[in-house]
Amino acid sequence: MSVVVTGMGVVCSIGLNAHSFAAALRQGCSGIAADPWGEEGPPFGATIRGFTLAGALAGRRALPEALLKTAERAVRRAPFSLQVAAATALEAWERAGLHEVPIEGERLAVVVAGSNFTGRYAESQRASFARNPAYLTGRFALRVQDSDHVGTISEILGIRGEGFTIGGASASGNLAIIQASRLIELDAVDACLVVGALADLSTMEMQAFVNLGAMVCRLPDDAPRSAGPPFDGTRRGFVLGQACASLVLESGASAARRGARALAALAAYAVQLDANRLADPSEEGEAAVMARAIARAGLEPHQIAYVNAHGSGSTLGDATELAALRRVLGRSFAAPWVNSTKSLTGHCLGAAGVLEAAATVTQIQEEFVHPNPGLEEPIDLACRFVGAHATSAAIPFALSNSFGFGGINTSILLAHPHARDTAS
C-alpha cells in the first residue's frame, strides 16, 4: 500500500508557516542567534520569534470559522509547545484539504513525536507552588503529560481513531512518521496526522546538554563567536532549535479518492537499535538503517539523489554519519547532494525528524537543495555538500536520517510522487 504526504505545517526559527519555511530554505536563512535565552543560557540558539496564536489562526483563512474558534478555545491558555502544535496541525489539515473533503474521525489517527515538551512551563509554575502548594493549578496535571497534545489536537480536529506520543530522543520524529505509516499500512486508519512537538526545555535541561558536551558551550570572550556548522572542522556540538512541524500521511487510495495532491511518497523506512544506552553513535547501526531503507524501496544506492543528514554538529556524530553514508553508498558516495537542515534551524530534538521530512518534501517539490551556510571547511572533501547557495536539483528519491541518544537509528526514504514513473 502506498503512503503519501498530503499536508504540511511548520513553525520554526526560519518560518512561521510552510510557505515562509520553504522560502527560507531556498535562501539559506539561518535562525541561529547569539544568547537568545540571555547570558545564563547556551551561547547560541534558534528560537521561534514573532509567533502569536492569533496570527497563526488568522493565517488559516480557508478553514471554517467554527474550527478556528474551537482551536482558539482549546489552546489559548496552553503552554507554548501546544500552541505551536495546534498551529502546525491546522496548517497541515488545511493543506491536505481535510476541511473540504473530510475523512471520518474513526479513520484518522494522530501521532505526536517527542518527549518532555513542557520543561520551561513546569519551571514557570514552580513559583506558585513554592508560595503555597495549594496555588499550583490543577491543570498542571494535564499540561505536563505529553499526551495533552494528543487529547487537545484530537479534540480540535475530531480525530477518533488511534492516538499516542512516541519518544525516541532525537529520532522521535522519524519514529512517529514510521508508526503513522504502519497504522495506514495495517488499514487501521486512512490518514494520520504526525506532529513533531516542540520540546520547550527548562534551564536545567539545556544546561545538562551543555555539561554533557553535546550542546555548544560558552567560550571565553576572546574566542571566535561562531557555533561551528554541522560537518565543518570548526563544529563543537549542536545548537538548540525550537520548532514544531506537522505532516498528514495518507494512503494513496484515500488521497486519490479525496482528490488530494500527494506532495511526496514515503517509499520505505528502517529502524535499528544499537543495544546501547549512551550518547555514542554507531556507524554500523546508521549504515544498516540507510541500506535497509534503500533495499526496501527496491532501489540501488546510486538512485539516491539527496540526503537530508542528521548532521547535528556533534564532533563524533557528524564524522560517524559520513562514515556510515560512505559504507552504504560505496562508489556512489559522491553522488547525492547532502545538507543538514540543522545548519539553518538548529537541532529541534524530538521535532527534528518531522521538520526535516517537511524540508525534504519541500525540496523534492520545488526541485532544489538548500545551502549549508558557513560550511567552509568540510570534514570530508569527497562528499557532495551543498555550498553557500541553494542549487537546482531534481530529487526522485531522498533519505532523511535521524539518530537518537540510546542508540536509536532511523532513516526514511521519501520519493517524488512521480519518481516511479521515471525510474521504471
Binding site: 478555545r73 489559548r76 491558555r77 506558585s128 503555597n132 495549594a134 496555588y135 490543577g138 491543570r139 494535564l142
Partner: protein, 79 residues
C-alpha cells in the same frame, strides 16, 4: 476580607479563563458550570483566586455544584 472582594476576584478569573462568558452573566447565585466552565476551568478559577487573595482552602472543602456564593463563603472562612 469582605465577600465583595472575593466575588470580584472570582469574576475576574472566570473572565481570564473563559473570556467569552458575558460579564453580566456572572452572578452570585449561579454555578461555574452554569457559565459553561468545564471541570479543569473551574479548578483553575479557584486556584487563581486563592493565589490572588492569598487564601488557602483545603481541597476537600470544595464540593461539586456549589454556587459562586458558596465559593465566596468557603474562601472567606479561610481568609
Amino acid at each position: 476580607m469582605d465577600e465583595r472582594t472575593i466575588f470580584e476576584a472570582i469574576r475576574r478569573n472566570v473572565l481570564a479563563v473563559v473570556p467569552e462568558v458575558a460579564e453580566e452573566a456572572i452572578r452570585i447565585d449561579c454555578t461555574l458550570s452554569d457559565l459553561g466552565l468545564n471541570s479543569i476551568d473551574r479548578a483553575e478559577v479557584v486556584t487563581l483566586t486563592m493565589e490572588e487573595l492569598a487564601i488557602s482552602v483545603p481541597v476537600h472543602e470544595f464540593h461539586g455544584g456549589a454556587t459562586i456564593e458558596t465559593l465566596v463563603r468557603v474562601m472567606r472562612r479561610h481568609a
